[in-house]
């Protein structure tokens, strides 16, 4: 047989095969340890409670709070608009659309920082973007937003202004602990467009011919 015929037959059959099978979409670890360390060092993953409160008060549509505590704890208390993805279920398929997307900024929170940070680390290593952590977790949130400490009158004006904001935000966001069901519902409406699933950002070898 002519080489051309042999080549044609083999590449066409392989081509048919590769066209028929689904594309491999598994995304293993994306970041090197160095890159991850850089991000951790830069504390780029953190949202402070004040930033978060500001966004919640303004009903910023670009954030999605994610409670990584257990379902029981979530039932008892959660932040407005939060959805519950227990850390143990983080890699479950049903949440991949939420965690790996390009539209909203996910903010993980737990009681302290550890569980939320672990969730961030895992998703970040998978190459998912747009995932963040609420700095200090719920404890810090309650301290600063729900029960802000009144600064002494001698403090600079910014401190006082921040206190006023926290007080207002705390009450607007239903301070005291009860879950505001209405806000939770608006944050996670069925009619909201499904986030577009995007491939993780590409960190590649440098090119060059």
């Amino acid at each position: 047989m002519k080489p051309r015929v042999i080549l044609s037959i083999s590449v066409v059959s392989l081509g048919l095969l590769i066209a028929a099978v689904p594309q491999n979409t598994t995304h293993p670890y994306k970041l090197t340890a160095d890159q991850l360390l850089e991000e951790v060092k830069g504390r780029q993953q953190y949202f402070s409670p004040d930033e978060l409160a500001d966004m919640l008060v303004n009903k910023d549509p670009s954030i999605q709070l994610i409670d990584v505590r257990s379902a029981d704890e979530f039932e008892k208390f959660s932040l407005p608009g939060a959805i519950n993805i227990p850390l143990t279920d983080l890699l479950s398929d049903q949440y991949s659309d939420v965690l790996n997307q390009d539209v909203k900024m996910n903010i993980f929170y737990s009681n302290g920082t550890v569980d939320a940070n672990q969730a961030w680390l895992i998703t970040r290593q998978l190459g998912f973007e747009n995932n963040f952590v609420l700095e200090g977790g719920l404890n810090h949130w309650v301290e600063t937003i729900m029960n802000p400490e009144k600064p002494a009158a001698t403090n600079p004006n910014e401190e006082l202004a921040r206190y006023d904001f926290r007080l207002a935000a705390g009450s607007a966001l239903g301070g005291g602990g009860a879950v505001n069901a209405a806000i939770v519902a608006t944050g996670d409406q069925g009619g909201a467009p499904k986030p577009i699933v995007k491939k993780p950002a590409k960190k590649k070898a440098s090119g060059g011919c």
Partner: protein
Amino acid sequence: MESTKTDRSRRYLNPYLGGVLLGLVLIAANYVAGRGLGASGAVKSVIVAATDVIAPAHVKNNAYYSEYAKQHSSPLKNWLVFQMAGVLVGGFLSGALWGRLKLKVEHSPKITSRKRLLMAGTGGILFGFGSQLGRGCTSGSALSGMAVISVGGFITMAAIFGTAFMLAYFFRKNWI
């Protein structure tokens, strides 16, 4: 593809077999380094390295050099430089194997050696210039780019071969 030529130095690999082997080399490059093959990048590397030795201030002042020097700790410690060194060795080995090692100027009988060298130099200058503007040459941009289905690779490939086809008529004396 049975050749009637008996001269051993004119015997070449079957092009389809050669293509499959070249494809395997390209896969190896992608598997190891996450990039394809390249040639003009090695030239650029050497130039930046040499300029850095002769006139380091010039590298800093020239936007194109400094951008490159910034990305590479030492321009000579570059993947493509090592790869092109390998090409020289590989080409030499194959030439030795097939008895093709010979210092000569290859040209059409219709032109002189001198003209051929002049044309080769001119072509080299154009190719060197174009490869920088187009971010890669036939191997780096067109071939490697096509293997990873990049839009840029297909555009470069079409532009190179399209232009060469269009100009072929005007330079036919050089070749046939």
